[in-house]
């Protein structure tokens, strides 16, 4: 008890920054968005794990080598990869604050993204016609869950992209819009990273089995 009394005055030692220092508006947005992407990564990790576990449970139904059309997957991969580089061009133009060219490259990115989603839907319809529905086997349930979750992400990214094209058109490339474009850039490239996992583990490796 005596010792506690002889301690120095408590306020003199401050363990935090006492001054309210300035935060640039949106200063932590990109880090926050990155942390969201990392949590999204965990969703995909669980879906990949599910596919890894159930990927060979065909329940007497069709096998991956009979179902998957690899040239189509290669075309799809090309679309997504092209959309990644065109988004990069949009970012470079946005940094130069050129509205028209930024919108142009965003539109090109959107077209490649839409082509990706279109090809994926075509593939799903084709598989459904062959009787390979999610109800057929655990392998197909896991396949549709994983691939469609990725496709849904791309679709949301497309909506976001259109919204940003309108915003850039109306308000120009001010700091807030630049930040938004940077967030979508992270999102878009992140989806391409997930797709690397999808075409390798789902399409190529399953076809080998």
């Amino acid at each position: 008890m005596d010792r506690a009394v002889t301690l120095p005055e408590f306020d003199t030692t401050v363990f935090y920054d006492p001054d309210e220092h300035e935060h640039a508006p949106g200063g932590s947005t990109l880090l926050g968005f990155w942390i969201y992407l990392m949590s999204d990564c965990l969703i995909f990790a669980v879906l990949f794990a599910t596919y890894g576990v159930l990927g060979s449970s065909y329940a007497g139904g069709p096998r991956p080598s009979e179902l998957f059309d690899l040239p189509l997957v290669a075309l799809n991969t090309t679309m997504l990869l092209l959309s990644s580089i065109t988004y990069g061009f949009a970012m470079l133009e946005a940094r130069r604050r050129r509205v028209a060219t930024t919108q142009f490259w965003l539109a090109v990115t959107g077209l490649f993204g839409a082509a990706f989603v279109g090809i994926e839907l075509y593939e799903f319809v084709h598989l459904f016609h062959e009787g390979a529905t999610p109800q057929t086997s655990a392998f197909l349930s896991a396949f549709y869950t994983l691939v469609a979750t990725h496709g849904l992400h791309v679709t949301v990214g497309l909506i976001w992209l259109v919204v940003l094209m309108v915003q850039v058109g109306q308000r120009g490339i001010m700091p807030a819009n630049q930040r938004r474009l940077a967030c979508l850039s992270l999102f878009w490239h992140f989806l391409d990273v997930i797709w690397i996992g999808v075409f390798t583990f789902v399409y190529l490796l399953s076809t080998l089995r």
Partner: protein, 125 residues
């Protein structure tokens, strides 16, 4: 504190890529994507197991290429917190994937004969 403040304000602009970065990333990605597809579609290698490991290797390299050239990952952005979050996530992903596959594989192996999913689908193998 002053160094911390400057890092704080510069970080919000995010990491930038140059045209050169994007083109290098794109070129490498095309190569790293084309080779696995070629290996599988052309049945290039005799052993399917080797093909599997090779394409997994290509995927890992391509993910790193995307991280560096498209997502502009580096140890400096946001005082290293982006990289910290990424490393933490990679650890969680590795535990989730390896753990699930390991546990479920052993569960299948230790099942009573004839109960596994493989038993019904193709008894010959």
């Amino acid at each position: 504190m002053s160094t911390l403040h400057t890092a704080h304000t510069s970080a919000h602009e995010g990491a930038h890529g140059t045209l050169r970065d994007y083109l290098i990333g794109f070129g490498l990605s095309v190569i790293l994507t084309a080779i696995p597809f070629w290996l599988v579609m052309g049945d290039v290698l005799e052993s399917k197991a080797v093909t599997g490991y090779v394409i997994m290797g290509f995927a890992a390299v391509q993910i790193v290429v995307h991280m560096i050239y498209f997502l502009h990952m580096n140890a400096e952005s946001d005082e290293g917190w982006t990289l910290t979050a990424l490393v933490f996530t990679i650890i969680l992903v590795a535990i989730t994937l390896a753990g699930s596959l390991w546990v479920m594989h052993h569960l299948n192996v230790n099942m009573m004969p004839g109960m596994g999913p493989e038993a019904h689908a193709h008894p010959s193998s």
